[in-house]
């Protein structure tokens, strides 16, 4: 079983749909894959319906992990690294499940966070990139899983943005599809939900190349090869290819898809959801085709181990944290605050939170005044809502007169931002609609866009005048002063 001097490792990932293993040797900076296997256990199915991993799913997972451990041992792979993702993260009985796996198989399974999952996937999915064609400066990598989808954007192969959303092919299937094949109505409802959700993601760049990985993406490639005679060497699928796949998947039951096109039946069931998610993301990112990678999180785990040895997970966690993304900042703030506020008396935490939220809201003022990024208003509005939520929570502990004064100020600002944001959203929706509308219908939409844009510019003048007159220190004092705190004098800590 190979050269003893060359290290051989195995990686297992326990996903929402599938449990997979890869055994590989690491030779001169690249992985030589020795064996792979996958089993659709669909742990996410029971988590979506009951919030827990059922005894049946747990037993199936343990049986699969035992078999994978035996496979790794055949190749003398050591260590065997195992990670678990969204379905396990969401399961109420995750601790019990992980302890059961350890007891039954001896495998230590690392429950990784969404950002770590995205980082490892990026490492894995991009490891073979650039061998056949030059890679553009900006790329996106999307890992479509059963319970979550990770999207990473990178410049010159350095990740600079990422997000993990708790929506995957299994999740969409379980929640929206009630027939096999799914009905037109089910598909329409799921499509509306996905469009809504994706529109809410603040994706700032549109990379020219989108690499997609995950079981569903690879199954779609296989389907296109069998059904539409796409070349066996081809690893790209166009938007039209995906539409054709979708047509097929909505016309035939999963069992027939499985028999005709050599796709496992359990995978065929969730493929309509998978293709819908990929298509929605393609439309949002405005890419005409995707590149499909057969590598993903497992290869990423092995590459991380190759780079960092036993510290691989800690190092990946650090890298994931370095990527600038607003949600990450929020998470970090929450973690920091956690240590400070768990046992903190209510009035003290209120004082701290009011000051912090006021500061955060006012920090957004400059970018709104610049009027360059349409999302700036949205960010300041969200910050104002968080501040209002703090004020609402602490209202009964506040001095009523001072509270009213402070609340009025924040509400006035929030209303002005709301008018701006609502108009921006209307314009955005209309622009998206314009692209899909026949020419004779475009006249009306264009008229409305022009009128709304003109109104928005007029409102910007009013908003800027309001923002410019805000005295930041006076606002902080006014807001903090409404909550009297023992041990804190005049609102100054």
């Amino acid at each position: 079983m190979g050269n003893q001097k060359v290290p051989t490792w195995a990686a297992i990932d326990i996903g929402s749909n599938t449990i997979r293993v890869v055994v590989a040797r690491y030779i001169s900076d690249h992985l030589e894959i020795l064996a792979t296997d996958e089993e659709m256990v669909r742990i996410g199915e029971s988590v979506t319906s009951t919030g827990e991993i059922s005894a049946q799913k747990s037993a199936a997972a343990i049986a699969t992990l035992r078999a994978y451990k035996a496979l790794a041992e055949q190749y003398a792979a050591s260590p065997i690294l195992a990670v678990a993702t969204e379905a396990i993260r969401q399961a109420k009985n995750r601790e019990e499940f992980l302890a059961g796996v350890l007891e039954a198989t001896g495998l230590v399974v690392h429950l990784i966070e969404g950002d770590v999952e995205a980082t490892l996937t990026f490492y894995g999915a991009t490891c073979g990139l650039g061998k056949e064609a030059p890679v553009p400066a900006r790329i996106g990598v999307m890992d479509l899983g059963g319970g979550s989808t990770e999207l990473v954007l990178a410049k010159n192969m350095q990740m600079n943005w990422r997000i993990s959303v708790p929506i995957g092919s299994g999740w969409i299937h379980d929640r929206y599809f009630h027939a096999d094949p799914p009905t037109h109505d089910d598909l329409a409802v799921a499509a509306t939900f996905l469009q809504t959700y994706v529109q809410g993601l603040r994706i700032k760049q549109r990379p020219p190349l989108l690499v997609v990985t995950g079981g569903s993406a690879n199954a779609l490639l296989r389907l296109a090869r069998y059904a539409f005679h796409v070349s066996a060497q081809e690893t790209h699928l166009t938007y039209e290819d995906l539409l054709r796949c979708e047509g097929l998947l909505s016309a035939l039951p999963a069992q027939e898809i499985a028999e005709r096109y050599k796709v496992p039946a359990s995978r065929a069931e969730i493929l309509p959801a998978g293709v819908l998610i990929i298509r929605t993301m393609m439309v949002h990112l405005q890419v005409r085709e995707i590149s499909i990678s057969s590598h993903g999180i497992r290869e990423g785990v092995l590459l991380a181990y190759a780079r960092h040895g036993s510290q691989w997970l800690q190092r990946v966690r650090c890298s994931a944290r370095d990527v600038t993304q607003e949600a990450v900042e929020v998470d970090a703030e929450i973690s920091r605050a956690a240590s400070e506020s768990a046992e903190e008396p209510f009035d003290r935490s209120g004082h701290r939170m009011l000051l912090d939220r006021t500061r955060k809201m006012l920090e957004r003022r400059d970018e709104v005044l610049k009027h360059e990024d349409v999302e700036a208003v949205h960010r300041m509005r969200v910050a104002s809502r968080r501040l209002r939520a703090v004020l609402d929570a602490y209202e009964s502990a506040c001095n009523p007169k001072l509270f009213k004064k402070a609340y009025r100020c924040v509400k006035q600002l929030a209303d002005m931002l709301g008018k701006a944001r609502d108009t921006d959203v209307m314009i955005e929706h209309l622009r998206a609609q314009l692209e899909q509308t026949p020419a004779e219908e475009q006249l009306g939409i264009q008229w409305l866009i022009d009128r709304l844009s003109s109104y928005r510019e007029q409102h910007q003048v009013v908003l800027e005048a309001f923002l410019k007159q805000i005295d930041e220190d006076a606002w902080k004092r006014k807001i903090v002063a409404c909550l009297p705190v023992g041990g804190v004098e005049n609102g100054k800590s």
Partner: protein
């Protein structure tokens, strides 16, 4: 829009986590006060209030996340989704109302006045749907749409009404899924831990 209910049974000297649970429970109850309107797709204002209540619960869970049970993150995900579904529905309602005003107003001063009166009336009753400043700006007879533009707006209105039906169906389906698993009880149980 209903105002957030002030919470009176708080102990300012108690740990923040204890009070945060009381606040989250209140926001949850506020959310379910609008439950009776879920089956009526055209209770536009009530569905909007449900959305605002979802938003308040969401932000409460977010700002107190450090002191609430970890399982609240799953609750947050569902509440965010409800809020987003209702948000899209509300955006469509606003656009439909605006288009109806645009198309309903004649290109004469009388129609314009009527439309403005309607918009102001809605605001005056505290049942705010359209921003009257925006309505006034759009309905100005000096920049009224041409016949061709009006036809395009008619098509847009039809599209939006269809889309709105789909959005409502998506929201309602999700709401009933939550009901089926007794989401309210689930959240209360989490908050009790």
């Amino acid at each position: 829009m209903a105002k957030a209910r002030p919470i009176t049974n708080l102990d300012t000297q108690a740990p923040t986590g204890t009070n945060a649970r009381v606040i989250a429970r209140t926001r949850l109850e506020e959310l379910y006060e609008w439950d009776k309107y879920v089956d009526d797709p055209y209770q536009v204002h009530e569905l909007h209030n449900l959305r605002i209540a979802a938003k308040r619960l969401r932000y409460t869970l977010e700002i107190f996340a450090p002191v609430l049970p970890e399982a609240c993150s799953g609750v947050l995900r569902e509440v965010e989704q409800i809020q987003e579904e209702l948000g899209e529905l509300h955006d469509s309602d606003v656009m439909v109302a605006l288009l109806r005003l645009c198309l309903g107003s004649l290109d004469s001063g009388v129609g314009y006045e009527d439309a403005l009166v309607k918009a102001s009336y809605q605001q005056g009753k505290g049942r705010f749907l359209l921003n009257p400043d925006m309505a006034a700006y759009l309905l100005n007879p000096a920049s009224a749409p041409s016949a061709g533009q009006r036809q395009g707006l008619e098509y847009l209105l039809l599209d939006l009404q269809k889309k709105r039906e789909e959005q409502y169906a998506a929201f309602r389906q999700h709401w009933y899924q939550l009901q089926a698993r007794d989401f309210r009880r689930e959240v209360l149980t989490i908050l009790d831990t």
